[in-house]
Symmetry: C2
């Protein structure tokens, strides 16, 4: 599919981060809270995983690209109107994440961390890496982030986000790479 991430386990290859997480979770029989057996709790994880594709994931990725990556590739910033629209959409999605999913719970699904939190936090770290203050003025979301970091372990959390948190320091792209990626990039700024 020419996409990352991809998993290769022996002869078996698999794309799509959500499918890969579910595969690993089943293969290694991880603790139940990651993807609960309980019918309704499991449905809440599924609901989040389905919802995020066209909302949080889309808008976090667009924020990163419009704020940092496209300027690096194109050599000039995207229009202020487009950037403002992208950040406004991200803001609306963060509000939904807080109001409809997190609510007053410790984690997105309830009192334990689940795959939903893991998928959500990795997306949110994209605009954070781009310098967006996604947790500012959102104390509930900020406290949740701390709980996720503590549940995963601070060292692992920092290691997992090391590259994305340094993305602002990316050197200008090599012209050959730039040329190759351009068609895909232009599709992204539509």
């Amino acid at each position: 599919m020419k996409k990352v991430p991809a998993l290769k386990d022996g002869d078996f290859t698999l794309t799509e981060s959500v499918a890969i997480l579910l595969y690993l979770m089943r293969k290694y029989k991880v603790p139940d809270y990651w993807y609960p057996q309980d019918l309704q709790a499991c449905a809440r994880v599924d609901e989040y995983l389905a919802w995020q594709h066209t909302t949080l994931r889309r808008n976090c990725l667009r924020a990163l690209w419009h704020k940092v990556m496209l300027p690096v590739f194109l050599g000039e910033p995207v229009s202020p109107q487009m950037l403002a629209a992208t950040l406004a959409e991200l803001d609306e999605t963060l509000q939904l994440l807080e109001d409809k999913f997190l609510q007053n719970k410790a984690f997105l699904i309830g009192s334990h961390i689940s795959l939903a939190d893991l998928v959500a936090i990795t997306e949110l770290m994209h605009p954070v890496g781009a310098g967006c203050q996604v947790f500012e003025g959102r104390p509930k979301l900020a406290a949740w982030r701390q709980r996720v970091e503590a549940a995963v372990g601070e060292d692992l959390f920092q290691e997992a986000h090391k590259v994305i948190l340094k993305v602002k320091d990316s050197p200008p792209a090599d012209p050959t790479i730039k040329q190759k990626l351009m068609p895909g990039l232009l599709a992204m700024i539509r």
Copy 2:
């Protein structure tokens, strides 16, 4: 979430079609082939369900809106350039569906129908309803559609797609409804 479909089962409400299907499948203990216990087969269903959100679903929906629904709401067709771009993207996605998912198998995941086929066919019926010839020149995909229709049962298949197959005959939208839906509609044609 102000979205359809939504499920209400006693006090439990759930959004997202994929989450709803998985919930019903687990609650009513349907035959294994819909969402196999086998680790790799299950991962293939998950892979398709994750993939389709931003690809087949997006492009089928856009084709329907750009070809039929927006003209009904706006009272004029979308620009030929935009419609052509939308249909070209749909075509690319259909190619991926055929090459990467269906390949030479009877169904998307293997020799049996699964949730992947069900989700895929309902999306494809959107551009079909809009008058796009999505199966023309694609004999493999057309044969697969026949197998899905036979597996589901022809009567149920026709009943499930009755509304979408008549969408071309929609009367012009009521001005009040038009006004209300306009902001969301304008976001859709970007």
